[in-house]
Amino acid sequence: MQRGTPSDQRPTDVYFFATCLVDLFCPEAGMDAIALLEREGVAVHFPQDQTCCGQPAYTSGFADQARSVALKQIQLFPNDWPVIVPSGSCAGMMRNDYPRLFADQPELQAQARALAGRVFELAEFLLNVLQVKWNERVQDRSEPVTVAVHTSCTARREMGTYEHVHALLGQLAGVKVVTQEREAECCGFGGTFSLKLPAISAAISDDKADAIKASGAQSYVSADCGCLLNIRHTLEKRGDALPGKHLATFLRERLSTPDDKS
Amino acid sequence: MSARERILRRLRAAPQSLAPLPPDVCGFYAAERKRSAGDDRTQRIARFCGQMAGWHGEVIPVTRGSWAQTLRQLCIAKKVGSLLYGRNTPYAKVLEDAGIGGLTPYDRPVDVWKTDLFRDIDAGFTTTRGAIAETGTLIVWPDANEPRLLSLVPPIHFALLDADQLHGTLIEAMTAQGWGAAATPMPSNALLISGPSKTSDIQVTVAYGAHGPKELIVLLLVGEGEL
């Protein structure tokens, strides 16, 4: 799905929906995502009442519990501003699953649809709506680096935001993206799957860690905190020190060099 | 109430909020054809031969005057001691006059010679109803003259194909030949054959001659100028 291509109305204000994983485990990714948006001249609003998109309960088959949490989130964004989510997975939940979740409640479904229409995954928003062109104004002179990219399955298959991360990284001259074996394969996280069927989850995660190691990358990047945590903690357990970053953090660090002319 | 009635009743009781329109398959393929560059006879022949080669089938261009002698030579080269064929086809007379050793008509019910058919016949010869260029596929409709097992049991299958009957795709062949229409109802058995029998069931390694023919040789009838 292509969203917001190209936009003639550049938004001045956006909401930021951090996601529960970023909130508790990777707050720096949230801060960096906000910084990225702000440096493009956009005012970022963070509703303090946000919690979680509800996906863990939803995918576990506990729709009522997911609905009660989703209902709260739907009400957090009164203005008609875009809602930016630094996760393909959670953005996918809000864009595609919220309307389904409220299928039996027409009024709420209409609200869910209206929200779904302005939910953007971070990379998608930077590239398609803000149309960042860093290569024109930033000299990426920080240390050249090779990175492997892990795209979350939702981003790849549901949100269609696979190309976006690559396009953004492609704007940074010092960044070389290397491909890994079976790049399109899941990292094995799967939310509660990693707890329910740990042996299988571990087998898939180990293969992903092997593939990233074997790619020769110095670092890896993911636009989804769930996958990132899974890969990071898997590598750590094996004693591999390969650093991994959320896309937002990686981009913000590269773009904050003294050469940044903006 | 019978199982039939209970099954149908359950199906009929199910909600039907959507009633999809009949799919327009022919329209779909017509649109697809417009997207692709059209093909002429030469291209179709080339496509067919290439695809058939991919299936491990051999295609030998022949003419109306030469095919039977080519077949005779093939039988000698492949040490075919017995060639099974069907009587009363438009090609049978020429075949019978070609001097092929061990030519055996399939003119008895299988029941009376099943063991001999399985053990003693080296090759089978059939005509074809046409072929499909896109996939390298023969169209074979067995009948009383050319029974089903002709193209299945003998280890080598020789098939005679008239290049005039080469269609682009399966749907084109079905439409052109009117499959299932009142004038041409579906026969007892209709077959599409793409190469000799094969299997990849052991470690995804392809092996030919799983149960049926180990070799498929297509004699492709073309004009003198096309050889």
Binding site: F25, Q48, C153, G190 | S17, L18, F118, I202, V204
Partner: protein, 479 residues
């Protein structure tokens, strides 16, 4: 052939089995290699993704249309087949189907039934029923023959013996096939099978096959295969019995090519199979071979349950290509046997709850990361992840109002999970409480437990950040 005890695992033990399944390096390598090969072959068949999407849309349309008219089409099929001289039988479950087939075999005093590949006959466990009736049921598809010889069940719906190496098969043949000596040559192994099975085709009184598509308008049964055993089983013995699920019917002959083209390309990356076998009649007067009797057994076995619900009905769009399992990260790791069902992998996870009930299969819908690879490659666009989520709900909850309960509805309901998710919803739908709980988690990070359920089995513990993003931003705003 001596029947050895089936090495078969109950679906209800799926969870317990997974540890052993992923720990078997031979099995892992067999599946990884084969699935990589099949994925690459499929991808090579679809170089133009836009064209593929058009074909998938048409195939989905055909399947949805066919299902929307299913009862009418089944009656039309029955009328047409009957007019063509083919006898039609209906079975609500496997037991009835097996009884019908045993009855036909007994009526012909059959001692040997040769079988073409039929997953539906695996579903009904026909072989066991035949053996119980004193009739040998011999699998003739090479892969099926191999697994039957070893007392196993297929581990893949298209590649039944994919879990076995050629060395294992060589050993098996040398031990169990009379006169066979040990060889690791695939050609020679297939030659051994060929020689043995051709003798059996000759002597069998009855042949069984599945059906890939049944065409209502013409009364035609279509079979897709490479080996020729399907043709042998349907044209050499005097009696041919076909068995199929009721969902396999399409209205017109022209509906077949789009489905057939996607089936073979999606399954094995072949543009077409060696044989496409269309059977519309028994042996006609004057014909010299072909079965003198043809029967079709139409099996329900839970399909009407899936059909009763419009969301679950999409399960029945399946044309059994197996692409979902080839692309499934879970299937690739555990292999087909771990599931304990006839159909493993994603399609099995959404179909088995209907054919076997949720009481035994409730764990299967959880065997997915919901990565969506299955739905992405499904040629008829079954929304498999959505159905998995739906079935996870059905497994843990009573039927929602207005919906008939599924067999085994709520079988995995647990007070503990209700409490956990209830508590979760309480915290996550009360912002102040949520902020308090997460604030506390950050302050207690030094106490992070070193063992965190399944997570730490292969990962270091998850540790809360020093401050939540909520707190960081509240501080920033306060400054």
């Amino acid at each position: 052939m001596a029947v050895s005890e089936l090495k078969f695992v109950p679906a209800s033990e799926f969870k317990q089995r997974t540890g052993a399944a992923v720990a078997d390096p031979h099995l892992r390598r067999s599946f990884r290699t084969a699935m990589d090969y099949l994925m690459a072959k499929r991808a090579a068949q679809f170089p133009d993704s836009a064209a593929l999407e058009r074909q998938r849309a048409l195939a989905e349309h055909i399947r949805k249309y066919s299902l929307s008219r299913l009862p009418d089409l089944l009656e039309q099929l029955e009328r047409q087949l009957t007019a063509n001289g083919i006898q039609v039988h209906w079975a609500e479950n496997g037991e009835q189907a097996n009884a019908i087939i045993v009855g036909i075999a007994k009526a012909h005093a059959a001692k040997l039934m040769v079988k073409g590949k039929s997953m539906v006959s695996e579903e009904t466990e026909l072989n066991a029923a035949m053996e119980a009736a004193g009739i040998e049921a011999l699998e003739c598809d090479m892969g099926e023959y191999i697994v039957q010889l070893d007392g196993e069940k297929p581990s893949h719906i298209i590649m039944p013996a994919i879990h076995k190496t050629k060395q294992q098969i060589a050993k098996l043949f040398a031990e169990k096939v009379p006169g066979a000596s040990y060889t690791e040559s695939v050609d020679e192994l297939i030659g051994i099978g060929r020689a043995l099975l051709r003798e059996k085709f000759m002597s069998a009184e009855i042949g069984l096959s599945g059906v890939n598509f049944a065409v209502a308008e013409t009364g035609t049964l279509c079979l897709v295969e490479n080996e020729g055993n399907g043709r042998m089983c349907t044209s050499v013995p005097d009696v041919h019995v076909a068995i199929t699920g009721i969902e396999k019917v399409v209205e017109k002959l022209e509906h077949v090519p789009p489905l057939f083209g996607l089936l073979t390309r999606s399954a094995t990356g072949q543009a077409i199979t060696t044989y496409f076998n269309m059977i519309s009649r028994r042996r006609q007067p004057g014909e010299r071979d072909g079965p003198k009797e043809v029967h079709l057994v139409l099996l329900d076995n839970g399909r009407t349950q899936a059909y009763a619900d419009e969301q679950l009905r999409t399960t029945l769009q399946c044309i059994r290509c197996g692409a979902c399992m080839n692309h499934c990260p879970v299937y690739t790791r555990v292999g087909g046997h771990a599931y304990g069902t006839t159909y493993p992998g994603p399609i099995g996870e959404i179909f088995s709850p209907h054919s076997m009930g949720l009481a035994t299969t409730h764990a299967l819908p959880t065997a997915s990361t919901l990565c969506g690879a299955c739905a992405e490659v499904c040629p008829v666009k079954i929304p498999i992840p959505e159905l998995l989520i739906r079935l996870r709900g059905d497994a843990t909850h009573p039927a929602s109002p207005g919906h008939a309960p599924l067999a085994g509805q709520g079988a995995a309901a647990s007070l503990l999970m209700n409490v956990v998710w209830g508590a979760w919803a309480t915290v996550y739908s009360r912002p102040a409480l949520y902020r308090a709980v997460t604030w506390l988690a950050t302050r207690l990070r030094a106490l992070t437990p070193p063992i965190q359920s399944g997570w730490t089995r292969s990962r270091t513990p998850l540790k809360a950040a020093r401050r939540t993003l909520h707190e960081e931003l509240a501080r920033r705003r306060g400054k």
